[in-house]
């Protein structure tokens, strides 16, 4: 029950915590957006890619490989994965309806998860990135240092990617390929290269997300479930907008935490598992293309 003197500090703390958690969601959502922006595929396998990236990194680390070498090797693995996926799964399905591709990525997620755990094992690994998770106080609110660092990394990534898409020639090519494949092809853009590049980029994003999430939750199978949190974010922000991924992530993160604290008690708690979806759903009914997504005009 809301008390007569509403605890604003507590509210602010929950809010900030939620926003920062939301940033983590955005990190994963950005990977989706990258792929969707250029090949119109909703990559359900993104979660399993996060898992693979994190597992590879942490397993190498545990075997004594130095930090930066592990990082580079994991990166290489993700790059190779991206290229392989584009060649074996995407290219044969290039003209099929998007839902078919989505199903294919569903199958792909099973394959990647299976391979990741077959190779590296199914135990839980702790991951220490050297970032202290000591909470510190700002204006009476407790903020986690880790969350802040994650937010910073996410912001940097967004800035980089946005800049890339807008100001570089390759970025322009990506957007052209997303806009009109046939025209892009006609103009001479090498589509398979572009798709491969996007999957590689998504792999890189997965690595970053995997490291941060892994440090927070531990590297384990349930990491692949972050994809399930990213979906409402995408729905809210639109599937093809990086800005939307950020804003959507913030909204979902904040909404989730706030609802858990303030509404949850009425339901006996635990509503975090589905509340994000309900928020997204409510939203979709008003704006079927998300906040920033491009409105699809139904053509006759």
């Amino acid at each position: 029950m809301l008390m007569p003197d509403f605890d604003f500090l507590f509210f602010a703390e929950v809010l900030v915590g939620g926003l920062l958690a939301g940033v983590m969601y955005s990190l994963v959502a950005i990977g989706f957006v990258l792929i969707y922006k250029t090949s119109h595929v909703l990559n359900f396998a993104q979660g399993s890619m996060v898992l693979l990236a994190a597992l590879t990194f942490v397993s190498l680390l545990e075997r004594g490989v130095p930090f930066w070498a592990s990082l580079l090797l994991s990166l290489a693995v993700m790059v190779l994965l991206g290229l392989a996926v584009e060649r074996t799964v995407l290219r044969p399905l290039v003209n099929k309806p998007p839902i078919t591709l989505f199903m294919a990525t569903l199958g792909l997620s099973y394959v990647i998860e299976g391979v990741a755990q077959l190779v590296w094992g199914t135990q839980v690994h702790g991951l220490d990135l050297g970032i202290d998770d000591k909470p510190f106080e700002v204006a009476g609110i407790l903020i986690s240092k880790f969350d802040l660092v994650a937010a910073g990394i996410a912001a940097a990534m967004v800035a980089l990617l946005t800049g890339f898409f807008r100001y570089t020639r390759i970025g322009l090519a990506f957007r052209a390929a997303a806009d009109d494949q046939l025209a892009a092809f006609a103009v001479g853009l090498r589509l398979p290269r572009i798709w491969a590049a996007t999957w590689v980029a998504a792999g890189v994003v997965s690595l970053v997300a995997g490291l941060l999430w892994g440090a927070r939750l531990g590297v384990q199978f349930s990491l692949s479930f972050v994809v399930l949190k990213a979906l409402p974010v995408l729905v809210l922000g639109g599937f093809d907008s990086i800005l939307g991924a950020i804003v959507g992530g913030l909204l979902i993160g904040a909404g989730e935490k706030l609802s858990e604290v303030y509404i949850g008690p009425f339901f006996g708690g635990g509503i975090e598992s589905w509340f994000a979806y309900v928020i997204a759903l409510m939203f979709l009914l008003v704006r079927p293309a998300g906040l920033f997504g491009r409105k699809l005009v139904e053509k006759a």
Binding site: V297, E298, K299, A300
Partner: protein
């Protein structure tokens, strides 16, 4: 494959009963008594999206039983016009009058009940159904039995199915589609698919038929056949036809009146010969820009 049998409902198709021919004759009888009011009228229709004005203040009257062509250079707004009539787009301004009823936006779901049927530029057949099933489903608007009745298959459901099937077979004969009636609609050659779409539209016995480039992508022979079918539809069923077409030869031969659109405006309207000689029309096709239009109006 001659078409003498296909063109006339008076000679009943094989296996039909006397009921059929009576039914056919009944349809013909209503034609001369067609309502004196216009079945369709567009009043000051203006349509814009995303900063582009697709239609500017269009007025169009359609007389009962006439074949009305809409022509114009690419991007002139012709398809948008059909989309406004079928309620797919909502005009910013203006009204659509259908048989004395006026609409700010035509309710697409009720289109069939309003007596309007249409074909689409990019083919809108149901690939998962056969030709026959595609035509039968053209009667969807008058099927009222619910799914339980349909599963049981008796009474109202059975009558409706038998009726729909019979009418579909008639139209299939009418349009010479007998040979392919059991094929999956998606496996047919392009020209035949267009004919199936026409069949699906006609089976509903629409008062108004909207054809969006029905001859696009067809060979000369196919075009001739299609022309014959459109004319026959008007003759047999008294259907008013509005068609968008690029082939000027076809348009001149087939239509009673022609409306010409350019950059969203109607620049001519009248019998084919008159329109053909109109200077504004000639200019539009050659691409002479008019004063009030920006150079990149085609964007």
């Amino acid at each position: 494959m001659t078409s003498t049998s296909a063109l006339s409902l008076k000679r009943a198709p094989a296996g039909a009963t006397a009921e059929t021919s009576e039914f056919g004759r009944k349809e013909l009888r209503t034609f001369p008594e067609a309502a004196s009011s216009e079945p369709l009228r567009l009043e000051s229709i203006t349509l814009a999206f995303g900063g582009v004005t697709a239609l500017k203040d269009i007025n169009l009257a359609v007389a009962p039983g006439e074949i009305r062509a809409i022509i114009g250079p690419n991007g002139a707004g012709k398809s948008s016009l059909l989309n406004v009539i079928s309620g797919i787009y909502r005009p910013q301004h203006g009204l659509v009058w259908i048989d004395q009823q006026k609409f700010a936006r035509v309710p697409t779901q009720k289109l069939a009940r309003l007596g309007i049927a249409r074909t689409f530029q990019n083919l809108a057949l149901f690939k998962g159904l056969s030709v026959l099933e595609n035509v039968v489903i053209g009667r969807a608007a008058v099927r009222h039995a619910n799914f339980v009745e349909q599963i049981v298959g008796l009474g109202r459901a059975r009558r409706e199915q038998a009726d729909a099937q019979r009418r579909a077979e008639e139209i299939i004969d009418f349009l010479d589609l007998r040979a392919v009636r059991n094929r999956w609609a998606g496996t047919l050659p392009y020209g035949l698919q267009k004919r199936v779409e026409l069949a699906r539209a006609l089976v509903a016995r629409p008062k108004i038929l909207l054809l969006d480039e029905p001859m696009a992508g067809m060979t000369a022979t196919e075009k001739q056949e299609m022309t014959r079918f459109v004319r026959a539809a008007r003759e047999e069923f008294g259907t008013t036809v509005i068609l968008i077409e690029h082939d000027i030869g076809i348009v001149m031969g087939l239509s009673d009146r022609v409306a010409v659109l350019d950059h969203g405006r109607k620049i001519a309207d009248g019998p084919p010969a008159e329109v053909q000689a109109n200077q504004a029309v000639i200019d539009a096709y050659i691409g002479v820009p008019h004063d009030d239009e920006p150079e990149d109006a085609y964007a």
